[in-house]
């Protein structure tokens, strides 16, 4: 008996008995073989973008003069969000560390693909497409990081072991060199939008991104050349501004690159930002029409009075009614009532379930290319050419053409046009920085809030905390998340934090 049992186990090799592989995940040894594996890996690299753009408005819109929030004396949980709007950011801000984590996750997954794709046994065209997307995503992510944090650790490989996971910060220049190199490679590999699966990075996206990078670097000529390529890729402005954002219209001719979401699945791939933008209501179905519903954590990213004033003509400009709604009624926030209270309507579209929508997040639209082109031309003194592109965008919105008068005036017109055209599309903060106006505009805005908090949705007898809105150059980039500095003391914090 004993001998039998003992024999039984010696016959099986011991190592076989001890080799147990996970059944709910795959190991990398078994992965990266077939085309399907690489396609899945690319999907994995896109995945963090959904999380990023459900929250990106905090870092890029709420921080600007376009939107503000309702101060809830009782509910202080959202303080980390409010800190962006009031310039009281701390180094442990959860939204910063989330964005940092998610972008690096995209980079790490792209790095894994890039490390193996050249040796993959798949067709050359598949290889190019996959490699192009991975390069695009890596370039895209580093560009977002460098804008937000300055020079960050530059990983182009997956760390093999503990020690490999620690890199110091690279310089901004080193990052831009890598970004431009990635995108230059990507634009030789990616197909046109019509030849690419909807939602994936395509040739137009790569050019637009590269143009944006040059624009950010104030390389106006390179920006112009790059962006002009996009004009010939079949994109056009939709006649109706509101149609651009309809979920039924995903992938429309104006859309160059967008983050895709889908509601109604069991997999949490729907978008959630809409419910943050709605007024906080015990039953938000009175606005959304979607029930059952429960109290939402909303009243964030509320359009400011300044933004409402920036519309030249609220009647003629179809963008006003398409972008902003108003609500009047009681509020669960202590000491606050909604009285013709503005909220973002752009993404308010029919959906089936509370808390989950089918809205995509627009990254690059054709009108963006036109206005960036106008900007790069104007900066080079080609104002009369620039004004044509500006007027394309104005006329679609229902506004009359303007004439080129001066470079400075033109610059101002483009900046304001971008503010309206891309309201709540997270462009305003970077536009202000690029225009060199972020510090002055936000200090001015802050004084208005401090002087008249009720106008900025503060309940009676409340207002911004002391220390708010002392905006300086150091506020133009965010602090490196403290967690990474604690773990890796080689990382040097940005000045001012």
């Amino acid at each position: 008996m004993i001998i039998l049992v003992v024999m039984m186990f010696f016959l099986n090799s011991c190592n076989e008995f001890l080799d147990i592989t996970p059944e709910t995940s795959v190991t990398s040894d078994e992965f990266f073989v077939t085309l399907k594996d690489y396609e899945q890996a690319v999907i994995g690299a896109y995945e963090p973008l959904q999380s990023i753009y459900n929250m990106d408005w905090i870092l890029n819109e709420l921080v600007s003069d376009n939107t503000y929030f309702v101060f809830n004396v009782g509910q202080r949980g959202p303080k980390p969000m409010e800190d962006f709007a009031t310039f009281t950011l701390e180094t442990n801000n959860v939204h910063l560390s989330n964005q940092w984590t998610w972008y690096y996750r995209v980079i790490s997954r792209a790095n894994q693909i890039l490390a193996r794709i050249d040796d993959a046994q798949i067709s050359e065209s598949d290889k190019e497409n996959i490699k192009g997307q991975a390069l695009f995503l890596r370039g895209f992510s580093y560009f977002e990081l460098v804008k937000k944090f300055g020079g960050v650790p530059l990983f182009t490989n997956v760390p093999e072991a503990y020690s490999g996971a620690f890199l110091p910060r690279s310089s901004t220049d080193e990052l831009y060199i890598q970004i431009i190199s990635d995108l230059n490679l990507a634009k030789d590999l990616l197909p046109l939008k019509n030849n690419q699966t909807l939602g994936k990075a395509n040739l137009g996206a790569a050019y637009t991104l590269l143009g944006t990078v040059y624009l950010t670097q104030r390389k106006w000529n390179e920006a112009e050349t790059t962006l002009k390529e996009v004009l010939n890729m079949g994109y056009s402005l939709l006649p109706s501004y509101g149609d651009i954002f309809m979920p039924s219209n995903k992938g429309n001719d104006e859309m160059i690159f967008e983050i895709s979401y889908l509601d109604g699945t069991p997999f949490n791939v729907g978008s959630t930002f809409l419910y943050s933008f709605l007024p906080t209501l015990p039953d938000p179905s009175i606005i959304t029409g979607v029930s059952p519903a429960s109290q939402n954590s909303g009243s964030f990213n509320v359009p400011t009075p300044d933004l409402l004033l920036a519309y030249e003509d609220k009647v003629l400009d179809q963008r006003f009614s398409a972008s902003i709604g108003f609500h009047t009624g009681p509020s669960p926030v202590v000491g606050f009532t909604y009285n013709n209270f503005p909220y973002i309507k752009k993404y308010l579209q029919p959906h089936a379930r509370y808390g989950e929508t089918n809205n995509n997040w627009p990254i690059f639209r054709f009108s963006d290319v036109l206005l960036m082109l106008a900007e790069s031309l104007n900066e080079q003194g080609k104002g009369s050419e620039a004004v044509q592109y500006l007027n394309l965008v104005r006329s679609r919105a229902g506004l009359s053409n303007i004439l080129y008068i001066s470079q400075v005036g033109m610059k101002e017109s483009i900046l304001n046009e971008r503010r309206i055209e891309f309201a709540f599309e997270n462009k305003r903060w970077q536009d202000l920085i690029r225009a060199g106006k972020a510090v002055s505009v936000m200090n001015e805005f802050g004084q208005k809030v401090i002087n008249n908090p009720v106008n900025y949705y503060y309940p009676q007898n409340t207002g911004p905390l002391s220390g708010s809105f002392s905006v300086s150059e150091s506020n133009l980039i965010y602090p490196i998340p403290i967690r990474d500095i604690i773990v890796n003391p080689d990382l040097v914090q940005n000045p001012g934090y």
Binding site: M1, I2, V5, V6, N15, F17, L18, I20, T21, P22, E23, T24, S25, T27, S28, D29, F31, Q40, A41, V42, I43, G44, E47, V73, G74, R76, T88, N92, N93, S97, Y104, R105, S108, R109, P153, F155, A161, Y162, G164, L167, T197, G199, K250, S260, T265, F267, V269, P282, P292, S294, Q295, S297, G335, Q460, N461, G467, I482, R483, V487, N488
Partner: protein, 1160 residues
């Protein structure tokens, strides 16, 4: 009938063997495992006193029946009338016995009791009647005093058929002493075959009337029985010698048993009999304070949960600190929560490497070995035990929150300070005098426990069995919670032949509970944790509206929309069903004398289902109802099997004793679970998950395997010099192929100094020195940690959902065992004729290759990496003292005190700068810091330096960017003039106690006994994370009463603990770790007071033992700790990852119970 007569004849002595005090029943001895000699002695003595009393009672009845030698009757002179027609011989005996004082004695298989007799006589002498019966039956009768012996006829001589021998009784007196000359009270003095006997008194003296020529037997547990023929002596003094075999208590160790006397490793053991005094629902509760070096904490009062074992301050920074639990040889996956305490016979705790190395890779945190009630041969014994108890929240321990008046005043002052209009509700605080709601009281109730256990044991030599059936029910003190358990254990043993023995154990358990989420922070999870949530709910709103209906919400104008917690407790559905089966098949074969082969096959199966439904009426904090109903269902299955093959050889040559063991084992465990998350139910009507409009399914499969070889040699020479060497080689699927196998050797040496010839210190009767060294491991990491693995990472292209994969874990191929080098040196001393027993241990444990999921910079794309990072050292002293202070025949008092001094220190870390941060995260900052040269997991935060009392104080003090006059002030540790984090963080407390102790006192007075158990801990700090919500200064919660002494103005700065309520300035005080959260966790707890009464049952033919007992648990708590329970640790208490954090949890109830124990 044939069975009954002799049984009755021996009635008084049967009680002796059933009571477990006969030294002649060896299987009983084998399993008689006790904590120490003295303790056993004490129990024996109390039992002996009871027994002596019973014997006395019995003698009284005998005396009543036989009125002395002078009146002894002759059968010729006793007249009897009877009318028996063709009745059985047995009936004849019965009639005679009832009509006369004579008793028949016979050997039942030689006398046919069924044979018919006919006796029709009137007033005839018994002699003549017997002669008549003798003619009919072929039997002879001989009267010897009051007994009539029945024998078969030899030959045919009729004269001899009835004989009479009247022997004169003589009075024998004497004294019984032990080898040390001390009197032994309670020694049984009996005459074999006669119903005569007595017991010695306190001075060891006895006096007894017995027939001439009798033989006396002197017996007492722990001593060799002596048989002495009286002859013609009337004074007989006896010296009893200790029975070494019996004194050699046997402890269950890994893969076998060992005598405590000859053990050279550190093992503690308790028998269930020592523990049953207090009725409890969980095993851990019985063990609190009882075992040297073992800390058992009750971290929560949730019914059926929360007992946490920690052996020798064990802590691993991540790999878990729970000991390995082994039930009847099977290392089980779940803990002991669902094991019925009534099934347990003994519990052994293996502490040092010499004891645990046979569990190799799993022994690092110690091993708890549970032996269930085994089958044993002998008369059928039936034991029924039941208890009932009521449970209540110890209200004096509740956190003292503001009452309605204080709360309204608090809200009023907040509004005024912030220049806001005061809501009319808070305008007149005094109007709330004598009203208001205490929400903690609203959600609690009087709970109850009830337990029923029936145990049957018995059998013949070839087949024996033990069955325990149990039912336990607990209604928790929080409304809606409860625990119920049905358990059965069926242990059998077959002696198939002299050489082959087969045992089969089967133990199914079905347990359910309705313990919805209660512990931890109020913000939490799906349903919110009700204990903290209710605590901070406004006292101005009650659970019922004006019409007496349950409200939906409980909010006031200052608070968040909150649900009505009473309604939540009632409406929320939580059903946890657990069905488990533990089974062993053990085959033992004795190949040659002393060489035994053993094969055991063990399986543990577990099926668990958790169904939850949150109806629209049950919201959570920040989410007032009506909410969209949500629910979930989780189904899991565990299948864990183990096959062990061992060969054991025993040999003794000229005082050299060897015991060698080799073995091979293989184990595999597979866990599968499916979780269905159901959201967006249309309504509350259908709760099944299928009714939800949004379902998502996740599943998990966890599998591991372990192959092991093991060997052990025990050697001792003349019980003086002891040696044990053991080794286990483990291969585990959890480690990378390079480090898959680990070797875990150990040696231990012992020297029983008191056995040496030169030992002549009389006061010390036993003295042993022992030392051990060995290596064990810790393999408690994830099953697949060393692998790079990719998990589903999904996205959307256009309108299509696409499924992708993303690397979710980077693995360290070099990942290997966490090794634990352990050294133990100790001594056992027995003093003053076993009145005092002392055990001392010093140990060190060096844990190297610490397994830790070390944090990586997020910029690497990963959060952490499971790797081996460093070394930790543990060391400590343990002292156990048992004393038997008072003993006389009416009263005894013994006490047991144990104390442990456990320390730890970080020796090396491969992380950057030899530091890492861990524990809870609050806005990016961790609560604990571990640094080379310091103890593991010190609390980490800022040091509070009062509040900024006034403008001058503010201007002259370092500040944080958000500081204002009145806000909390911290110390500027780096001296840069500013308060910044973590630059101004430091270690702010040590979560590890300086010592922990247990103190048990037992008293007995006649049949009454009393036991008091104290446990305590000194010098540990607790991080009261609950301060985060119970001292929230925003006015959105109810808060601690003491918050009223906060900073209100420069003129009224309060006590400097709590700052201003100015809107927006409160987060620093609330959300950063700082020294105000650190509290002293020292305590002494009167854990249990229990008492019992044993009814004298010697007269009762059916009941052998009747005991009534009662107990109070959690009687008193002496502590400065302000929280409800200083043992609490809501999150993973023993782990080094975040020790000593209190987030508030389910109150540990005070239980008053009453029980009855019956043995038939």
């Amino acid at each position: 009938m044939a069975e009954q007569a002799p049984a009755r004849m021996n009635a008084s002595f049967k009680l002796e063997s059933d009571g477990g005090i006969s030294p002649s029943i060896s299987p009983l001895k084998l399993f008689k495992v006790m904590e120490n000699n003295l303790r056993r002695q004490l129990i024996m003595l109390s039992k002996r006193l009871i027994f002596a009393f019973l014997v006395q009672l019995f003698l009284c009845t005998v005396l009543l029946a036989n009125t002395g030698n002078a009146q002894l009757k002759n059968i010729e002179k006793v007249k009897i009338s009877m009318n028996l027609q063709e009745k059985s011989l047995a009936q004849f005996f019965k009639q005679v016995e009832s009509k006369t004082d004579f008793k028949f004695t016979y050997t039942d298989n030689l006398v046919d009791l069924k044979q018919p007799v006919t006796v029709v006589e009137n007033d005839k002498s018994l002699y003549d009647v017997l002669v008549a019966v003798s003619r009919q039956t072929n039997l002879r009768f001989a009267q010897i005093n009051e007994n009539i012996h029945v024998k078969g006829k030899e030959g045919s001589s009729e004269e001899n058929t009835v004989s009479i021998v009247i022997k004169a009784d003589i009075n024998v007196t004497g004294r019984v002493i032990d080898e040390g000359g001390e009197p032994i009270p309670g020694v049984t003095v009996s005459v074999p075959g006669a119903s005569t006997g007595t017991a010695t008194d306190l001075d060891g003296k006895y006096s007894l009337s017995v027939p001439e020529g009798s033989t006396l037997v002197f017996s007492f547990i722990g001593f060799v029985a002596q048989t002495i023929a009286i002859g013609d002596r009337s004074v007989i003094d006896v010296t009893l010698s200790e029975d070494m075999a019996s004194l050699d208590e046997v402890v269950v160790v890994g893969y076998g048993t060992q005598s405590t006397r000859n053990a050279s490793s550190s093992v503690e053991s308790v028998s269930f009999e020592d523990l049953t005094k207090a009725p409890v629902s969980q095993i851990g509760q019985m063990l609190q304070g009882k075992i040297l070096g073992v800390r058992v904490n009750q971290t929560t009062g949730r019914p059926g949960e929360g007992m946490k074992f920690q052996i020798r301050g064990s802590a691993s920074i991540s790999a878990g600190s729970d000991p390995l639990y082994v039930i009847d040889g099977m290392p089980v996956s779940g803990g002991l929560n669902n094991l019925n305490p009534a099934e347990i016979e003994t519990i052994s705790v293996l502490k040092d490497a010499a004891a645990t190395s046979l569990y190799g890779s799993r022994g690092a945190n110690g091993v708890v070995i549970i032996q269930t009630k085994s089958a044993r041969p002998g008369a059928m014994q039936i034991e029924f035990d039941t208890f009932f108890g009521i449970e209540s929240v110890p209200k004096e321990r509740n956190l003292k929150m503001m009452d309605a008046v204080q709360y309204a005043q608090f809200q009023k002052e907040i509004a005024e300070l912030n220049n806001r209009p005061v809501n009319p509700m808070f305008q007149n605080p005094d109007s709330y005098a004598d009203s208001g709601t205490n929400w903690s009281d609203e959600i609690s109730r009087r709970g109850s426990i009830q337990s029923y256990n029936l145990t049957l044991r018995g059998g013949a030599e070839r087949f024996k069995t033990a069955v325990t059936a149990g039912y336990f029910n607990q209604d928790g003190v929080i409304i809606g919670t409860g625990y119920e358990r049905y358990s059965l254990r069926f242990n059998t043993g077959f002696q198939a032949s002299d050489k082959l023995k087969i045992s089969f154990n089967l133990a199914p358990t079905y347990a359910t509970n309705t313990n919805f989420s209660s512990d931890g922070n109020p913000y939490g999870a799906a349903g919110g944790n009700i204990v903290s949530s209710a605590l901070i709910t406004t006292p101005l709103v009650g659970p019922y509206d004006e019409d007496g209906n349950l409200r939906l919400t409980a909010s006031d104008p200052a608070t968040f929309g909150n649900p009505n917690w009473l309604r939540v407790a009632k409406d929320r559905v939580y059903e946890n069903e657990n069905l488990s089966l533990l089974s062993n098949l053990i085959i033992e074969y004795e190949i040659i004398n002393g060489l035994k082969a053993k094969v055991s096959a063990n399986i543990e199966l577990n099926q668990n289902k958790i169904f939850q439904f949150n109806p629209s009426t049950a919201g959570r904090l920040f989410l007032p109802p009506p909410v969209i109903p949500f629910g979930s269902e989780q189904n899991s299955n565990l299948n864990n099997w183990l096959i062990e093959n061992t060969l054991d050889y025993n040999k003794e040559v000229n005082g050299h004793k060897f015991d060698a063991l080799i073995g091979f084992t293989s184990q595999k465990s597979r866990y599968e679970s499916t979780f269905i998350n159901a959201r967006n139910y249309p309504d509350d009507k259908i709760q099944a998950v299928s009714a939800a409009s949004q379902l998502s399914v996740t599943n998990d499969i966890q599998e591991w395997s372990l192959l092991s070889y093991l060997a052990r040699v025990n050697y001792n020479y003349k019980n003086k010099y002891l040696f044990t060497g053991a080794i286990r080689r483990d291969g585990s699927s959890r480690f990378g192929s390079q480090n898959r196998w680990g070797n875990f050797p150990s040696v231990s040496l012992g020297w029983v100094v008191s056995e040496e010839d030169f030992w002549n210190i009389d006061a010390v009767s036993f003295f042993k020195i022992r030392a051990s060294y060995g290596i064990v491991g810790n393999f408690n990491i994830g099953n697949y940690s060393f692998r790079n693995s990719l998990s589903p990472s999904n996205y959307v292209f256009g309108n299509s959902f696409v499924q992708g994969r993303g690397l979710s874990n980077i693995g360290d191929q070099q990942l290997g065992w966490e090794k634990n080098k352990q050294f133990n040196i100790g001594a056992d001393l027995t003093l003053f004729n076993d009145k005092v027993k002392i055990t001392y241990n010093y140990y060190t444990k060096l844990a190297s290759d610490l397994l830790y999921n070390v944090e990586l910079p997020l910029s690497s794309g990963f959060n952490s990496l499971q790797t081996n990072i460093g070394e930790l050292k543990f060391w400590g002293h343990e002292i156990g003292v048992s004393t038997f202070i008072i003993n006389n025949d009416r009263f005894s008092w013994n006490s047991n005190f144990n104390i442990s001094f456990d320390r730890n220190k970080t020796i090396s870390l491969s992380t950057v700068d030899g530091v890492f941060f861990h524990g809870m995260s609050s806005y990016g900052f961790r609560s604990h810091k571990t640094e080379v040269g310091k103890p593991l997991g010190l609390f980490y935060g800022a040091i509070q330096d009062g509040v900024y009392i006034n403008q001058q104080d503010f201007d002259n003090s370092p500040k944080h960017s958000s500081s204002q006059v009145g806000t909390i002030k911290f110390k500027d540790l780096n001296g840069d003039g500013q308060i910044t984090f973590p630059a101004d963080y430091t270690e702010i407390g040590n979560p590890w106690p300086k010592y922990t102790f247990g103190f048990t006192n037992e008293f007995s007075f006649n049949n009454f006994d009393l036991s008091i158990v104290l446990v305590g801990s000194y010098g540990n700090k607790i991080l009261t994370h609950y301060d985060n919500w119970v001292t929230n200064l925003d006015g959105v919660f109810n808060v601690l009463e003491e918050v009223k002494d906060r900073w209100k103005s420069p003129e009224d700065p309060g006590k400097g603990l709590y700052g201003s309520t100015q809107a927006g300035t409160t987060f620093l005080e609330r959300d950063r770790w700082h020294s105000r959260f650190i509290k002293d966790g020292s305590y002494i707890s009167v854990r249990t007071i229990s008492s019992g009464y044993n009814f004298p049952m010697d007269q009762n033919k059916f009941i052998n033992n009747l005991r009534v007992y009662s107990s109070i648990q959690n009687v008193f708590l002496f502590t400065k700790y302000p929280g409800t329970n200083p043992e609490v640790n809501t999150r993973n208490s023993g782990s080094g990852i975040n020790p000593g954090v209190d987030e508030n949890s389910y109150p540990v109830p005070r239980t008053i119970s009453l029980g009855v124990n019956l043995t038939f």
